[in-house]
């Protein structure tokens, strides 16, 4: 299949937990809310399952950004595993920055099963942010050890 060259369309891989954020996505669907088609979701049982390897794999495979989403803090269906996901996210983000990947390409989103609207809105926002960043730049690995600003969105 061949297509005409077109402007940069980011590809975003999104990880959701089975109980909150995936259901939020389901809800967005059931309510026919519209959002950018750039995101492709992967369902995990819990955001605690999010292995940083998955994020590296997504970037290495050509994703321009990665979304990690789970239940709200204190709302985890596995008691407190989303806190563990949050800890990983904070450390992972620092590593990515040193690896030359802008902090804006990794986003953590808390979304409850009832928050389809917010889920959709956040995806649109994120897609635009990544579009603005442009394609992942492999040529210029970064070396700044500065602490990245945490971009934790609570939906």
């Amino acid at each position: 299949m061949t297509e005409e060259p077109k402007p940069f369309e980011p590809v975003i891989i999104g990880f959701t937990c089975n109980w909150c954020s995936y259901r939020a996505a389901d809800m967005a669907g059931t309510a026919r809310m519209k959002y950018a088609p750039n995101i492709r979701l992967i369902r995990l049982m819990c955001s605690g399952r999010l292995d940083p390897t998955f994020v590296f794999k997504a970037f290495a495979g050509g994703a321009d950004a990665v979304l990690i989403s789970g239940c709200h803090p204190g709302d985890c269906h596995y008691v407190e595993q989303n806190y563990k996901a949050m800890r990983r996210f904070h450390l992972l983000k620092r590593v990515l920055v040193q690896m030359g990947i802008e902090p804006g390409r990794l986003k953590l989103l808390w979304a409850s099963a009832a928050e389809g609207a917010i889920f959709a809105a956040e995806i649109n926002k994120f897609t635009e942010e990544v579009r603005a960043l442009g394609p992942l730049n492999w040529a210029q690995p970064g070396e700044q050890v500065s602490t990245p600003i945490m971009e934790e969105v609570t939906a």
């Binding site: 390897t53 994020v55 290495a60 690896m99 934790e152």
Partner: protein, 326 residues
């Protein structure tokens, strides 16, 4: 029939691997007995063109150490691959890039610029070395540096990986012994692509230190504390890479009171070494408050450098087809 042929070569490496091989001391004679050493710059005389003259696959065993820093490294890697039956990525540099792989944090321009603008460098015309330079007498050339340092596996097809910086002498003895046995039909060679001369789990398995549940409120620096010589270093907040690093060294560094720096690379089947450490270190953090988590993480002053100290060139991210273009 003639003896099987042996070759050992260094690309961008420090020579420590050669020393490690020499350090098997009298056992080196076994190698000499079992093999005809046809190419080994450190130990004997042989010409590059002799290798070129060989038939493909004529060399039975080639231990290749060093990473791919310049075009010459790559050229000879391809040559030796062609000429060798068993190509072993020998040592951390060949397996995963090792310390020189940290260069992949920077662009090659940044690297050269830094080297030629140090405080003692007297460089008024701001000269940079040229791969080909016209002197009054004529052109003289030097190799071109690669945009990124690559591992051997990213450059040619590798049969076995032997990790370590350098590989421990007792492991080298064992591997050489195994190959000799295999050649005499007394033993089976491991499946292609296997990691040899090392364990399958991690350094903690061999570490003598006591360990309990790990909950860290603060990461420490080894020089800034009196570490308990009996207790797991990570539990004391010292950033030890042992939990994620393949065993095979008998936990040398932790045994000597120093944190494991990860020279044996990832454990069996692990896709990305650094990712394992990110998970592990995040897992021991004892807090659910974002601000506090960040405060604790500030104690790890160089996470990427620590988690990918030996593995940056071989990391999942840097192995990406996009990253390889540099």
């Amino acid at each position: 029939m003639s003896k099987p042929k042996f070759a050992m070569y260094w690309a961008a490496s420090c020579g420590g691997c050669e020393i490690a091989v020499l350090n098997i001391h009298e056992k080196i004679l076994d190698v000499d007995a079992a093999f005809e050493v046809v190419f080994w710059p450190v130990a004997m005389d042989a010409k590059y063109k002799d290798v070129e003259a060989m038939a493909d696959g004529e060399i039975t065993l080639c231990l290749f150490n060093g990473g791919m820093r310049n075009d010459e490294n790559e050229h000879i890697a391809h040559l030796l691959r062609k000429k060798s039956k068993i190509m072993v990525a020998f040592g951390s540099c060949a397996c995963e890039g090792c310390i020189p792989g940290l260069a992949n944090f920077s662009s090659i321009k940044e690297i050269v610029d830094t080297a030629f603008t140090t405080i003692t460098t007297d460089n008024p015309e701001n000269i940079r070395p040229q791969s080909s330079f016209a002197m009054p007498e004529g052109n003289i050339t030097i190799p071109t540096l690669n945009p990124v340092l690559k591992t051997l596996g990213q450059t040619v097809d590798v049969d076995y990986f032997m990790p370590g910086c350098p590989p421990e002498s007792h492991q080298i003895e064992a591997v050489v012994g195994l190959v000799i046995e295999a050649l005499n039909g007394k033993a089976e060679l491991p499946p292609k692509g296997a990691t040899i001369g090392a364990g399958t789990t991690t350094v903690c398995d061999d570490c003598p230190r006591k360990r309990n549940l790990k909950t860290i409120k603060e990461f420490g620096r080894i020089q800034l504390m009196k570490a308990d010589p009996e207790l797991c270093l990570l539990e004391q907040g010292i950033p030890c890479n042992g939990p994620a690093t393949r065993n095979g060294c008998n936990a040398r560094c932790p045994t000597a009171g120093a944190q494991c720096i990860g020279c044996y690379g990832p454990a069996e089947g692990v896709v990305d070494y650094g990712a394992r450490l990110i998970s592990a270190f995040a897992s021991v953090i004892d807090s659910n408050k974002p601000e506090e988590i960040d405060k604790i993480l500030d104690g790890l002053v160089d996470p990427a450098g620590q988690f990918y100290r030996f593995n940056l060139a071989g990391s999942l991210l840097r192995s990406s087809k996009y990253a390889q273009k540099g």
